[in-house]
């Protein structure tokens, strides 16, 4: 299944996978701040940042092409805003907006693709993120998979009954009806999953097989991972 790709990547073995999620999250936060605040010379800085991410992907043994393609999922959203900025008469800022959002999405994807979700959320918790918010995030993540599976089942069922050959208004009406059914079915399925979790003693907190340990190797990773993009920005005049 396509939606399982990120999960599969996050379970691979590499030095980057083994780093404590808190170290990776801290490095990501610094990276995002550096990217966001880089206002000048992004023509050089952008590719340099992206190059660092590609190097990270190669180090983590995840396919850079596939990861970069998946990071493009953010573009439809950012292009809407970029388009509005361009229409307002600032095309340079529009390009910058789209480019920064793409680089940021690739950075987030690198973190998610090298850290299994339960460990990632535990890392966020260790950094002080509200537990309720994390619980919502973990259920949202799981339920996105559920909705995706239900949608695939419904699509197969519709196609098997000639659902793909209608056109125009009828098709729109059918799609709208299917969407309502999809959410109802997903709700039922999500409730079943939640019940199954409660039945096995779940009390709102995912427990890990191995507790997190922030060691020397994590510190040695964090210093260059956070320091290098910062140094690059300062050296190449990313602006203030």
């Amino acid at each position: 299944m396509h939606h399982a790709v990120l999960d599969e990547w996050s379970r691979r073995e590499s030095a980057l996978h083994r780093r404590d999620p808190r170290a990776k999250t801290a490095a990501l936060v610094v990276f995002l701040i550096v990217v966001t605040t880089s206002t000048h010379n992004f023509v050089v800085l952008g590719p340099a940042y992206l190059g660092m991410l590609v190097a990270g992907m190669a180090w983590a043994r995840i396919p850079p092409a596939g990861a970069l393609a998946r990071a493009a999922v953010v573009l439809p959203f950012s292009l809407v805003f970029a388009g509005a900025v361009a229409l307002a008469g600032d095309p340079q800022r529009a390009v910058l907006l789209a480019a920064k959002s793409y680089v940021s999405a690739a950075a987030v994807l690198l973190l998610v693709a090298t850290t299994p979700l339960p460990a990632l959320l535990r890392g966020f918790e260790g950094l002080g993120a509200p537990r309720f918010l994390l619980m919502v995030a973990q259920f949202l993540y799981r339920y996105l998979f559920v909705i995706s599976e239900e949608a695939q089942h419904m699509r197969a069922a519709a196609l098997s009954r000639g659902g793909g050959i209608r056109a125009g208004r009828t098709r729109f009406r059918a799609a709208a009806g299917a969407l309502a059914v999809l959410f109802a079915r997903s709700h039922v399925r999500a409730s079943d999953i939640h019940r199954a979790m409660l039945a096995r003693g779940f009390e709102g907190h995912f427990r890990l097989v191995r507790n997190l340990r922030f060691g020397l190797a994590d510190a040695l990773f964090l210093v260059p991972a956070a320091g290098f993009p910062l140094a690059l920005r300062l050296a190449l005049g990313g602006g203030v």
């Binding site: 409660l198 039945a199 003693g201 779940f202």
Partner: protein, 239 residues
């Protein structure tokens, strides 16, 4: 005399829209006993077993291993009772088989190593040890069912409840499941429409109708009494 594990008296439950689902159910289960819950669709069988694990809460009394089931004793009940759901896909939500089997033990407060050890034992018990690093959604229906059972066995419950365990299983997988259940020492409640399976796994049956227990006895007797033995004609029994 066998130890009483479950005692239910006058259990009543209505859904949010007021629809009555259980109308005064009385039920008991002893140690090492297996009981089949039979009855038509919508008769309240699944609603009833969801009460035993505290997933639904109605009026009446439920005692699990001598302890009244209340909000305060919920975790006790969930340690004692392992519930295997009808749809294994809803039960297997972790990324790998071993992590899924370890989910329950970790929630019991065991360390990671202890949980993994229990998970491996349970997977070996159901014959799925070789699949520990596979993704659950890549398994066949029969394998998923076995892993779902392993996830429950890893919690070492005293009572197993299986809701429609043969759904989605082909006959060889159903026979393998039957063999597995016969080998497990726990007391079991099997909710099923599969009368052959019920007859093969359970000496005693309880028949539900309109949210109440309307009869009990041996499986053939109950099937005969409620006119469910007809479909058996000409069918071979499972090994």
């Amino acid at each position: 005399m066998s130890r009483r594990l479950i005692e239910v008296r006058d259990l009543r439950f209505r859904y949010h829209d007021g629809t009555p689902a259980l109308n005064g159910v009385d039920f008991w289960l002893d140690a090492r006993e297996t009981v089949a819950l039979l009855g038509p669709n919508g008769s309240g069988k699944t609603t009833f077993v969801l009460h035993l694990n505290g997933l639904l809460s109605g009026e009446g009394t439920i005692e699990i291993c001598g302890v009244p089931l209340t909000k305060e004793t919920l975790s006790h009940a969930r340690r004692k009772i392992g519930l295997v759901f009808q749809d294994s896909d809803s039960q297997l939500f972790m990324p790998t088989v071993i992590e899924d089997a370890a989910f329950g033990p970790l929630n019991l407060g065991l360390t990671g190593d202890e949980a993994m050890e229990r998970a491996r034992e349970a997977l070996a018990q159901v014959g799925m040890a070789a699949a520990e690093n596979r993704a659950p959604w890549h398994l066949s229906a029969g394998e998923k069912k076995r892993v779902a059972i392993a996830g429950i066995l890893a919690m070492r419950p005293e009572i197993l409840i299986l809701d429609e365990p043969t759904t989605f299983l082909d006959p060889p997988a159903a026979a393998a499941l039957l063999q597995l259940l016969r080998e497990l020492p726990q007391a079991k409640i099997v909710v099923t429409h599969d009368v052959l399976f019920a007859g093969a796994v359970a000496p005693r049956a309880v028949f539900f109708e309109k949210g109440a227990v309307v009869g009990e006895g041996t499986v053939p007797d109950v099937l005969q009494r409620f006119g469910w033995s007809g479909p058996l004609t000409g069918l071979r029994t499972l090994p």
